[in-house]
Symmetry: C2
Subunit: 244 residues, 2 copies
């Protein structure tokens, strides 16, 4: 069963300030909870409506699950996990880095984390005003990739100034990604869903690149779609380079 | 102002059966409403909390907008539009077609519609058990592209059997999209978020293709990301072919 104080805590973890205060976050759904367990994430509790899910899981009723879920529709699994401690040194050694300037939609961030995982990109830098990666909707949309891809929140211009990577900014009217040979050590910067990359960040980029479109009437592409297309092209170029 | 009967109708339009019964749908947000108006979609009402939005718009208060919005957070614009009548003949003449087998997430469908628009793909075929493209969340996520991209709901195997296009099915372990030369007249089939393409549909595809990944541990990619990567590669190949 779930105690009253557990219910209270899990509800509070919807809010960033409680996640920061406690160092905990909530993950729901079989795939997500299983992948976090497999990646050896520490946890406080694992609740399940199904028997024999995990050696440490506590069986609860569907009604109890409905009380603690962060979503409209509850799943059969919910875990309260400990946020990992990030190693900033590893970040600098990373070949491909994705940087997000004020990303605000949790579903978009989760999808980007998932795509980064697909392309072996382990590190995402987010400006401090971006949505928190341990927001339950981000965790959910990442489909478990949150266990392998790390989001670092920092002053974006400040960090980009210090790094040795080639910094590519993405916009709508620059050189085509297909006419650009990406450097091995690259940072790809993507802007806010409505306003693009902020001027402060644009000033630090080395090159502006764009995803070419066929329909000239259209003036925007979803940010998670943009990240997918760019990382795919980066992967294609690297693969071609290896083959040669 | 909004009348009681209008409030009732707009609330009912959250449900597919009322959209089907009335032939109407709800669109919210400045960009979406404006693009539908520009595309000459018929409408019953346009409500706005801001003066001088459109010649036909009715000014209402924020509190009234909160009563009629389909979302948690209301925007300043809401329109009740008439669903368009689709011309099935045009569909067959289309070069690139995206087919979705049992897509269920409205945000994913909206994002796919937006990506199709970017790449000039005007027609999406959805199996009948797919989410309705006039669901408010789909309309919202399409960011106005719903005014230019049309979703046809039909028996997928039945339709694919009749068409002359090359039919590509997408899965996780087939020939790489980078080792495939896409035909000019192509249908790209994508499966359900959890279960992939159904066997009935797989049997009708001409070729199975996959998006290669770098991280072998990962076993899934968001469907809207997959569509983005595939349509980008199709566009790149076509552009290259024109240049030659």
């Amino acid at each position: 069963m779930v105690t009253k104080s557990q219910i209270k805590q899990i509800k509070q973890l919807k809010f960033k300030k409680f996640r920061e205060k406690t160092g905990l976050f909530v993950a729901e759904g079989e795939k997500v909870v299983l992948e976090l367990l497999q990646a050896n994430f520490g946890f406080h509790y694992i609740f399940s409506t199904i028997e024999n899910f995990d050696i440490d899981s506590v069986i609860i009723s569907n009604d109890q699950m409905k009380k603690i879920t962060h979503f409209k529709n509850s799943s059969n699994y919910l875990g309260v996990f400990i946020k990992p401690i990030y190693d900033y040194k590893i970040l600098n050694e990373s070949e491909t880095i994705v940087a997000l300037d004020h990303i605000s939609d949790p579903g978009n961030l989760g999808t980007i984390i998932r795509t980064c995982d697909w392309y072996g990109v382990k590190h995402i830098i987010c400006s401090r005003n971006s949505v928190d990666c341990f927001n339950s909707k981000v965790v959910q949309a990442s489909m478990g990739s949150i266990s392998r891809v790390f989001c670092y929140y920092m002053d974006l211009p400040d960090y980009l100034k210090k790094i040795n990577h080639m910094i590519y900014g993405t916009d709508l009217n620059s050189r085509s990604i297909y006419d650009t040979s990406f450097k091995k050590k690259s940072v790809f910067v993507f802007g806010n869903e409505s306003n693009g990359i902020s001027n402060k960040v644009i000033n630090i980029t080395d090159e502006q690149i764009s995803i070419p479109k066929k329909n000239k009437v259209v003036n925007s592409l979803n940010i998670a779609s943009s990240v997918s297309i760019l990382l795919a092209e980066n992967f294609r170029q690297n693969k071609k380079a290896i083959r040669k």
